[in-house]
Symmetry: D2
Amino acid sequence: MDSTLEAKRRRRRGDYPFHLEYRTRWSDNDVYGHLNNSIYAFLIDSVINTYLIQHCGLDLDSVAKGVPKETEKDKTHGHGQIGLVVSSYCDYFASVSFPAVLDLGLRVVRLGSSSATYEVGVFERGNDTVKAVGGFTHVFVDRDTRRPARGGMHGSIRNGLKKLVISDSTSTAKL
Amino acid sequence: MDSTLEAKRRRRRGDYPFHLEYRTRWSDNDVYGHLNNSIYAFLIDSVINTYLIQHCGLDLDSVAKGVPKETEKDKTHGHGQIGLVVSSYCDYFASVSFPAVLDLGLRVVRLGSSSATYEVGVFERGNDTVKAVGGFTHVFVDRDTRRPARGGMHGSIRNGLKKLVISDSTSTAKL
Amino acid sequence: MDSTLEAKRRRRRGDYPFHLEYRTRWSDNDVYGHLNNSIYAFLIDSVINTYLIQHCGLDLDSVAKGVPKETEKDKTHGHGQIGLVVSSYCDYFASVSFPAVLDLGLRVVRLGSSSATYEVGVFERGNDTVKAVGGFTHVFVDRDTRRPARGGMHGSIRNGLKKLVISDSTSTAKL
Amino acid sequence: MDSTLEAKRRRRRGDYPFHLEYRTRWSDNDVYGHLNNSIYAFLIDSVINTYLIQHCGLDLDSVAKGVPKETEKDKTHGHGQIGLVVSSYCDYFASVSFPAVLDLGLRVVRLGSSSATYEVGVFERGNDTVKAVGGFTHVFVDRDTRRPARGGMHGSIRNGLKKLVISDSTSTAKL
């Protein structure tokens, strides 16, 4: 899929396989009366981690409660890996303001052996023009050592993320 | 309506006339794996201001863009008043965690000549037990002078907020 | 120490035994050009938890990394207890705006067997008038069970918090 | 100045002409026990806007209060221009955790006729290794029309930002 700035400006909802709606908050608006640019990072983080929890076996509860990894591994999905952000980016095309409701679309633009790069398109409810396109790169590491696991990301993460990869041909076909 | 701590613990969705659903964000969770207490203040602020914009003529756009008040006053609802928070409170009964979806209920517990005190009940989608009950007191002031207007809050604010006042008798009848 | 609203309005830096300076952030300002009321909750949370970490043996690292409690207990201060917020409050007397630098003062207004109520005074650098006075009540619980420990809060917490209790007589003497 | 990833990893405090210290907040830590990646965007925004206010005549007060531009123009610095973020980026090299105190260094990497690209280096007090390097591009627009001004950015902005430009030769000399 074309990742030039001009191509990003033309993103549509259909370019993203996974979507979540987010209501903006009063404090999201800065003194200029529109969403502060940093807020997009919060939203991008949220849609990506929601997908990881719902479709890739990320288990926040074990992290927060300090459940021993051995116990966790007995569970169907539990894999003891978490994603750390190593780089992030965002291009802003038009502003949005509280109390707008946003629609966030998610796809994976690069799937490596232990890392994944995401792209999120930010749309406003009732409007087809993309407002911002951003994302980040996750490196998946062992929850306790915080080092990449030998063998790369766990199978349940890879299988979940694969569904969000849109190859150039698919994308071209769509256009 | 009973405002003791025990009464608040028993709040139900039906106790609130206005509702909005809010998706939690990744960053809302603190290191203990649940919503940081401060996040509830953001949510409370958001549901109250959404109501003020949609039903009481609060015009954020004029504020942010510095539209002269005279121009603003020509519009149906424009009244040049904004609400400043003078005190806030919240009681937390049970924790919620990202990626939960929350349902916020809003009512007005006291409507004065230039001030209003709100109560917001925080519920989790699919669960009838209230998680937190909080709110704050707004004093309505002139947008430019930041002083309470002579004559108190504008009629369009008062009319909008009146619909959220639940008198004791109504509430008792409901129980 | 007098906790009426009028008394709070007269708080001075000297009424608080522990102080931290906080630089405001761009995003703290809302559309009205001053700190959003919710931001004070972040600041209050920050000064209280900094004190708990530095003077009461709160060990966030063990929480986040899921270190087994037995290991943690071997350390001098490690006690496996964390504070959960059960109620919060704040009174706002005057606004402050980014890029102001704030000075936060902390004291303990009530020290129970397993709970503590804090009061934080918010001052602006170079200005003696208090801008806001708020705080919350912590119940100290076992990190894993999230239930209050039998025997109440750990000795290292109690000893640390005792130093922040200002009795009425002290306070009166000061006035 | 070299802007490859490897070069960024080697940034030192001396590579940045303007510095501000920021205390982290409790809520900055996410469930993994370190600063959430989105928080860096808040900090980057804060150091840049502080510089614009203190050294480039950015006047937030006029924005928030809706002061007519004509009045504003009479003031020495008032120029009625604001910066809108059009793209942002950040590379994360090592994590930091509340209650760390951060030192943020700022420089300008590209100064165009109506836009500027900044780079911020994030350091932890007492530690010379850079933790993250990020920034964004501002386009300076008229406060009211939100369009780039004919003639580009105002002279007082340009003069202020020029002092933060480190040319390659300077930088090479330093190395």
